[in-house]
């Protein structure tokens, strides 16, 4: 059973055409899993990055001065977090 402990989902909002084409070139990197693909400037791109590849991917993004935010901090931890929210709501 594959788990996702420590995997993060990064959200990147490309600011210009150069960033856009760089992100497009990243889409086939086997290290990442594209959740929301590259479309146009200003539209979010979401990528899941396994924990072991985080440093490489972050350096890759920094090399082009591409900012990102963390949409999901720990993918494996998320379901229990959602469950807690659900219980709380009940």
């Amino acid at each position: 059973r594959e788990t996702f402990v420590g995997d993060k989902v990064l959200r990147i909002i490309p600011k210009n055409e150069a960033q856009l084409s760089f992100l497009k070139s990243m889409e086939d990197m086997p290290e990442i899993d594209v959740w929301r693909g590259v479309t146009e400037v200003g539209i979010p791109v979401d990528i899941r990055v396994p924990v072991q590849h985080l440093p490489v991917v972050k350096v890759h993004l920094q090399s082009q001065d591409i900012q990102h935010s963390t949409m999901i901090e720990d993918l494996q931890g998320l379901p229990s977090q959602l469950h807690q929210n659900c219980v709380g709501a009940e």
């Binding site: 989902v9 899993d33 479309t39 959602l82």
Partner: protein, 302 residues
């Protein structure tokens, strides 16, 4: 069709139950088998006749996009509930059939529940590679092998060795060809909030672009009327990116003018792990857009 129903039943059991409860309206067709031998079930909603003009809807060809299979389940229930009550749907079903494939990639769906929640592809092994599966939305004979699909079996967008190599795809191809009278084909994905029409593999606009664009605009406007969810719309290549071997490019090239693909919402920023409380709003708003497309198809025979 409440959240408890969606959560509590296996979808296959749900389909059988729906048929049993509504035998005069719903039947189940098995159009083929997945690689691992699971039935490819299609629900047929029909008030009679054979090979009537029809509307096709599929959900969940990318297995991890759970909100689509959940929405498909809700649509099935909605159709039987609204038939005879909602004048527009009743008029459609009195003249046309609706086919609904809820679990379009059942091997992948099973795998997402038991091994890898993030699985997207089919589960057929690739000879010579340790990586499994083909992206069934890059496997159609429409610009197959062109840009916007990968030739690497380890990629999430691996196109496969040849068009229609995946039984999950080939079964739909055979069904569509054999039927010959499908007038609208709507393939549903998630979660980036878009409504798209052909093409994905070429920049050449379809000849009815103006009509498809205007209908997409109306559909997403109706969708937004419920919760204000913002959708983008347009051709695949202009709105997302170049993608070859895609479903609706093939269906359009088969003569199905009203070929659309949805990317349903996730306004909760959870991606494919979305909270359950978003499922019903997603299904409800999507239904409004589906009705718009189905109604337009009904009123504009070709």
């Amino acid at each position: 069709p409440d959240s408890q129903t969606v959560a509590s039943f296996q979808i296959y059991s749900f389909q059988d139950m729906l048929v049993a409860e509504n035998p005069s309206l719903v039947s189940k067709i098995v159009i083929g088998q997945s690689y691992q031998g699971r039935a490819l079930n299609v629900l047929k909603f029909s008030t009679g006749g054979s090979k009537r003009p029809a509307i096709w809807i599929d959900t969940g060809i990318h297995s991890r996009e759970w909100v689509t299979q959940a929405s498909g389940t809700w649509f099935a229930k909605k159709i039987v509930t609204d038939y005879g009550k909602d004048p527009a749907l009743t008029a459609i079903l009195n003249k046309m059939d609706i086919f609904l494939e809820i679990v379009t990639n059942p091997d992948g769906f099973y795998y997402t529940h038991n091994n890898n929640r993030m699985w997207r592809k089919t589960r057929k092994p690739n000879p010579g590679s340790s990586c499994v599966g083909v992206d069934p939305n890059r496997n159609w004979d429409a610009g197959f092998g062109g840009p916007g699909a990968s030739g690497s079996p380890c990629s999430e967008t691996y196109r496969g060795t040849r068009a229609h190599s995946e039984s999950e795809v080939k079964s739909i191809v055979d069904f569509v060809k054999a039927h010959g009278n499908i007038k609208a084909f709507i393939s549903i994905h998630s979660y980036s909030q878009m409504l798209l029409y052909p093409y994905g593999y070429t920049r050449t606009p379809v000849k009815e672009q103006a009509e498809l664009h205007s209908l997409a605009k109306k559909a997403i406007t109706d969708l937004a009327s419920l919760y204000g969810t913002y959708y983008r719309y347009g051709s695949i290549i202009n709105t997302i990116y170049q993608a070859s071997g895609g479903t609706i490019d093939w269906t359009y090239n088969q003569g199905i003018k009203y070929s659309y693909t949805f990317e349903l919402r996730d306004t909760g920023r959870y991606g494919f792990i979305l909270p359950a409380n978003q499922i019903l709003p997603t299904a409800r708003e999507t239904w409004l857009a589906l009705m718009t497309i189905m109604n337009h198809t009904f009123k504009n025979p070709y």
